[in-house]
Symmetry: D3
Subunit: 216 residues, 6 copies
């Protein structure tokens, strides 16, 4: 009996702790006989992907990594900006799934409209471009940013949780029936936030890996 | 350690063989410690859900079933017409996922545009309404029907495979980068069709269950 | 000379007083030699169609009723949730017109954008689904709900009129050039509201019957 | 008891026979105690409104006529190009309904998608602008023109009927569930065409007058 | 060597000072060997194009003027309401460019979403119709009107500048990345406003002439 | 008197002959006292930008170049794939204009719908993504590719002209009122093609520079 090919989850930044966090959050997808969920850090990447230059530089690294791993069954780009999505799809015929797309599409599978929590006001225009490219901007109820919280802190501590809950409540008031965490860093608060708000709160990386598992 | 709540996959028609087929196609999602994937038949349902009356009657049965199973973590309506989706969502705050929506959204996670294979020309107007309701009709490259193939036969035998392959080739020519099987019956041909066409071919039930697993 | 076939206006709830109100509001459409406007109550229905279950149960009754009345020239479903619209269209080739669709489309025939007054905040998500299905959500200026007013009271008394006027003024401020009454119960206030607001206020049941008469 | 104010149906071209045809086609809307349906010819107009200059010149005449008739309850512009619609709405707060808009919106009240028969290929770009302005171009299944048939002949004789039937069959094949006659001249063939095609065939002038009657 | 044919910029109102202002604002487009930029006043026009009747009357004059000047290479309609655009295009195969369309499209070439400053709240519905006709209403971040400022004053003096700056700041807050001056009169404040706001502020007449020059 | 800052036109590929061709095609925009139109080659670029990797690598080079030239008034990315557009906009507040966007938007300023000629069938999916991102995919009449013609040859010789004319005729038949050349290489045939087809044929680089000149 053959071992199924792994699913490669790519953290385009160089923070090993982020990759560890991702891997932990995906632990329950692992089981004997199932595809391995392999989480990798791109060591040459910056500590966080924030500027557009960082996004564009990451794209090439993501492409190189995917080209070097033809043994995988599917690829997940675990960054909400999805660096290298088009490039990766030009390099392999296997599924390549971006975290933004997967998160938003999972929300649409659950509710009539969705909200997004951004880690910063600066992220919102980029997110709107991604929604427009995906063709689903009409389903967005609203997007609300955190203020003054770093990516690393967005999933830990009371201050960030309070901001997330307030953001979530604004999104509910705007009609959102599901909420997408607009940054991988926030996933540590996902379950608590879901319980506080009473609607599905989506960790886009999990959504992306789940989509990949559905295909394999 | 608690056992995770199961995911309930509802076949709204009364065909046990269809339910068995569904369950087999979901086998790899099952693992120790993971949510059970429980596939149920609605015994009072018709042998197939084809007419709008059958869809509307099924809606109430699906709602009743979901209301009677508060022990589940999520519900999947394993029929492309998604009978009872709104009703179920009015009865529970847990995730309820329709097979059509999940299949189409998975395709959008993989490709710029998607195609759908319908089991019959008569299904197409209903599918277009579902796409419009979902707000993604612009992403549809084309939908192509089989001709003279029953639901039960659509996943078995050479005649149906030949029709599926021809339909898929038409969809590729129309620009589809992923293909959604527009009927649960077709899943038996999924893998072979994917290999013949070279693009992802999506079994919407698997996509729905994967989405549910991503949330749990 | 033959008598023209009647237009059947179906009140899916069991409230005879609602049916009487509907019939009165349609009185001026009746004339010698013109199609009769026959308003019927579905006696097995609930007193009001509020929950999704009530909508879905009503769908089957509406379908049965229409199937039992092949003598009619056209059918109007006089409930803003339009229970049974798809079912009815699968059972007859004659025109079947839903009250929501007719009301919104009449507003679009009169003005660049329209507003809707909902009887309750809970109705709004369902209305948005109906608009999306119809494909005209971009023409909605805004929807504003009443608060704490029952369906039965929404067309009578000062309290409901005051709320309707305030709602209407909000819709005008949002740019609405015509206003749709989002519940059959409101029609008693239609004329007074139109005079207070200075823009067309549409009773969707009248709009639906008018559309039917245009076809016969 | 007061007499209700009339509905003014404006034929912007100078052909009295067209106005007579319109009036005859609206005969069944007339009844004692109901608003009169007054059909008027603009004598200074051209014999047909075909070029854009004719449309734009007609706009001013339509505006003048409406301004001179404040006694009416509503106004219908009985030309598919709707000359003067915005002007009229700037001059009166009473309903002003264009024939194109009313016809298309009536079709949308009846079916999931509609087709249009144009009297000439040259009309199609103008119709598409009207649909885009109305915001419903996505609901158009297709538009098919007649070839070499004059406006006056489009509602009479075998040659035009044969072309209409062929056009209608093409529209059915493209998925149209209702068909709009894209020229007032075609109404003489409406009933026969509806019987031949088995789907609603809409005379937009009747649709516009019906919408007006629904408001009065 | 031949002299290139001129570009005709048409001011549909009869204010010579507006035409002079337009011509001055276009001065830098003029150069030896380049197409002349000829700015003309329609003497029979009103002093300002404000009402819909003025728009519709201007349409015919614009058409006549264009028909009388077949020597030109392209035509710009220098009024935000674009009177006569369709008419002109029916009379010549040469490029005819409306100021609204050119301004909005230039903004879209520069930024993800744009804002519009209207000279009056009354202009906004007309602008929205123009956007819908153009098919780009989804790219509008917001439109904000001035209050109590005449067209002539909108480009001169402190009061109008203060209102423009406040309007612009509201548009930035709504996400606009570029701002379109929704009235030819405002161009006198363009440069100062752009410096105050830090995003491109577009004079639509310049955008239209630039588009014309790009074609010649 | 100060010299106006130049407009920088960036050819992201390393072909000097392409840059020379671009510069020649822009010659008439140059005049004393006007901004210089400076065309630069990115020497490290590939000879052509064809694959997605080439696009993504070019993005960084375009960003670097723009960052190194703060003396310019505006930047034009003279490649239909617009490498580095988002990056450049993150690095400067001055206008950055992509050739695709400018070409398509110029077409929309001229006609109700436009067509695109692609240099290869492989380019079409990328173009559709660009249109969707721009939000104007509904205005596309059709896109038709050349077959077996290189970028370099697409603007020279009879074989490519014949293919361009056939492609253009197909686009006219699909309703296009203006045609966008979907590759910088085609501009050598622009004028001849426009004369053959009788509708505007747009060289997107000229459209982009014209838009930039309108702002300066």
């Amino acid at each position: 009996m053959t071992t199924p090919a792994p699913i490669l989850v790519i953290n385009p930044n160089s923070s090993e702790s982020v990759t560890t966090g991702l891997s932990d959050a995906l632990a329950d997808f692992r089981a004997p006989g199932r595809p391995a969920i392999e989480c990798v850090t791109i060591a040459e990447g910056p500590l966080g992907i924030i500027t557009q230059r960082e996004v564009d530089e990451a794209a090439l690294r993501v492409g190189d990594l995917i080209a070097s791993r033809p043994d995988c069954a599917a690829y997940v780009i675990a960054c909400y900006s999805q660096p290298g999505l088009d490039l990766a799809r030009s390099l392999t015929r296997k599924p390549v799934i971006g975290m933004h797309d997967a998160g938003v599409l999972a929300a649409m599978a659950l509710a009539d409209s969705f909200g997004v929590i951004a880690v910063s006001p600066l992220s919102i225009p980029r997110h709107l471009r991604l929604l427009r490219r995906l063709g689903v901007e009409q389903r967005l109820a609203a997007e609300v940013p955190l203020q003054g919280i770093s990516v690393a802190d967005s999933g830990h501590g009371e201050e960030s949780f309070i901001q997330l809950r307030h953001a979530g409540e604004s999104l509910l008031a705007a009609g959102a029936g599901a909420i997408v965490l607009g940054c991988a860093g926030m996933s540590g608060h996902r379950l608590r936030l879901e319980q506080a708000l009473g609607v599905p709160v989506i960790d886009p990386t999990r959504a992306a890996v789940a989509t990949a598992l559905g295909l394999c």
